[in-house]
């Protein structure tokens, strides 16, 4: 048995994961329960501390919330994260810029194209290159399609968390259509690795306009159905109106962005305030509400689906012709057919996929509006083909802190509604 095999078998045990890591010096097994830091003494005598997660049916991934309850009221809530920590930022330092999109795309896995976009934009900024107009519009189309699919996922899971289980099925029905369109364009249903530094990976397929317009019609019909099902529904309103209220000051102080901030009456959307791609060239509204409760956030995301459909329709009408990626051969690989014909193309292809391209030293921070809020990429380069530091400012990481303002004082069942309305994706929280 060769040594790696032996070591692997040694590590495998049926006894439990305690033995995967070396025992402490005293030889005792460590406590499995990890508190994630200090848990201060409870204030009231009759409170109970319970643990929600990290494995629980509310499908928001591996989030653990420790709550101190006074009968049904939540006195204190502390989110404990890190159960999905993947070391992506460390992996990002070991992958070239060409490979980088495959890594970042898996952070916010409900809207992977936003991650790829922000990473590619950061790399392009450091390289000081521009992408062709068609590439910009394709990127915008894809990111808006992704926003639609992410908000549909939110509608589905939010509905299910609050008890409207059929919402799960309805939301998924439209999401499947969106994923199918994304699959026809990018090749994958999720984690597309399509938006890359320099442009996009391939051109749009034939017949995409017809497919996209069909999708827009289907999504609009679907959104109408969700509206009918939920918005005036008295049970839905009872569970969401006035629940989890947050004010603008609290949201800004806690670093919350996206629908949470917009639900407090603060109309801040990066697509409108600091436009990127071609957002200053298309018409859309920034959806915001005034009450800051769960119902508002549900409504914002519902209407944002319609706004995204509007943008997608404009992309279909006005998609410019041209290249789908920059012609700079040092950054993007040549078309596959050229490799057979030209030695230079072959060499470029080889260098790009083995060594990657070098980025001059520098640092930059680029931010876009993902379905969850402001996603930013802080990229530091040193002239080699791999980044020195790849940091993604994940919106859910900061949005989760807004739980501090929303959950205490409410009832336990409201905590589920509130966490659901924050719409955290643990992949970008833990990275």
């Amino acid at each position: 048995m060769s040594d790696p095999e032996g070591r692997r078998l040694e590590a495998q045990t049926d006894e439990g994961a305690q033995q995967l890591r070396p025992l402490s010096a005293e030889g005792v097994h460590r406590e499995l329960v990890m508190t994630g830091g200090e848990w201060p003494e409870p204030d009231l005598d009759d409170t109970m501390i319970i643990n929600m997660g990290p494995q629980h049916p509310s499908t928001h991934g591996v989030l653990r919330i420790m709550m101190e309850l006074d009968s049904e009221m939540v006195v204190r809530a502390k989110p404990v994260i890190g159960y999905l920590h993947t070391g992506m930022e460390k992996t990002g330092e070991e992958l070239t810029y060409v490979q980088g999109a495959t890594n970042v795309t898996r952070m916010d896995y409900a809207s992977p194209l936003s991650n790829e976009l922000v990473f590619s934009m950061a790399v392009e900024r450091l390289l000081d290159i521009d992408v062709p107009r068609r590439a910009t519009w394709i990127r915008m189309l894809l990111v808006e399609l992704n926003r639609i699919s992410s908000h549909l996922l939110f509608q589905a899971t939010n509905g299910m968390d609050l008890g409207a289980v059929s919402m799960m099925i309805y939301g998924w029905r439209e999401r499947e259509l969106t994923l199918r369109l994304l699959e026809s364009i990018t090749g994958l249903r999720m984690n597309h690795n399509f938006i890359r530094p320099g442009g996009v990976a391939a051109d749009l397929p034939d017949g995409w306009q017809r497919d996209t317009l069909d999708l827009c019609d289907a999504v609009e019909r679907g959104v109408g159905e969700y509206d009918t099902l939920l918005t005036q529904n008295p049970i839905w309103r009872e569970r969401t109106v006035g629940v989890g209220v947050i004010t603008t000051d609290e949201a800004l102080a806690l670093g919350a962005t996206g629908p949470i901030l917009r639900s407090t009456g603060f109309a801040w959307d990066l697509r409108r305030a600091q436009p990127y791609l071609a957002y200053d060239d298309v018409e859309f509204d920034v959806i915001y509400t005034a009450n800051g409760d769960v119902f508002d956030r549900y409504q914002i995301r519902l209407y944002e689906i319609l706004e995204s459909v509007r943008i997608v329709r404009q992309c279909v009408d006005r998609m410019p012709a041209g290249d789908y990626r920059t012609q700079d051969r040092k950054v993007t690989p040549p078309p596959r057919a050229r490799i057979d014909e030209s030695m230079e193309a072959l060499i470029h292809h080889f260098k790009l996929f083995t060594e990657g391209f070098r980025v001059p030293p520098g640092e930059t921070y680029v931010a876009v509006e993902s379905p969850r809020g402001e996603i930013g990429c802080y990229l530091v380069s040193d002239g080699t083909a791999k980044p020195v530091r790849l940091h993604i400012r994940g919106p859910s990481f900061y949005n989760l802190q807004s739980m501090d303002a929303m959950v205490p004082g409410g009832m336990f069942a409201d905590a589920v509604a509130i966490v659901s309305s924050i719409d955290p994706i643990m992949g970008e929280v833990d990275r």
């Binding site: 460390k90 070991e94 102080a253 001059p360 030293p361 930059t364 921070y365 930013g376 040193d382 020195v388």
Partner: protein, 186 residues
């Protein structure tokens, strides 16, 4: 400081650029030792470590930078080429904070150098509670402590983890795989 590999574009940033950003100009004037740099069109200010908290308070209080978006760190141990503007003493770690002003619709990035032997910086949580998670993450992954943070414990790694994973001298702990491009030793 190695500068052989910098390109012309990068070298420009080292010069005494006219501080064309009004916030950057005011900051440099107000705080001794602050250096302004325009990094690919974005305003960046390098401040001395002891002014970290004051700069953040000033930005928030007087310059209407309503939100501290992000606090992170960089480990420059094995950089091949590094951009450090004139007047800034390069250290191993840099702590970076991004601020956004909604009313003025502008951003600014503040960077401070943190030495290896004393990796500590003031915490911004009293000004912006939203920096709490971010500072815990920097502590967890880099080992940089934030003075005044209410709960500076590990957030992403298990509580009893030894080591700071994102430091360059902390091993990525790859399992050797049979793949020619695999960077790990075999």
């Amino acid at each position: 400081m190695p500068d052989d590999d910098t390109t012309d574009a990068a070298r420009e940033e080292d010069h005494e650029v006219p501080v064309d950003d009004e916030v950057g100009a005011a900051l440099v004037e107000r705080f001794d030792g602050a250096v302004f740099v325009s990094s690919h069109g974005q305003p960046v200010v390098y401040v001395p470590r002891d002014a970290w908290h004051d700069v953040a308070a000033w930005l928030q209080g007087e310059q209407q930078f309503t939100q501290c978006l992000d606090v992170t760190a960089v480990d420059h141990l094995v950089d091949e080429a590094r951009i450090v503007p004139a007047g800034v003493e390069a250290e191993r770690y840099e702590v970076v904070a991004n601020f956004l002003s909604h009313p003025r619709n502008r951003r600014i990035r503040v960077i401070t150098e943190v030495p290896t032997d004393d990796p500590a910086v003031a915490s911004l949580t009293d000004l912006s509670p939203g920096a709490s998670f971010a500072e815990r993450e920097v502590y967890d992954l880099f080992g940089i402590t934030f003075a005044g943070h209410p709960d500076l414990t590990r957030i992403l790694m298990p509580d009893d983890w030894v080591g700071f994973p994102l430091r360059k001298d902390d091993a990525p702990a790859r399992v050797p795989v049979t793949f020619k491009g695999d960077p790990s030793p075999r």
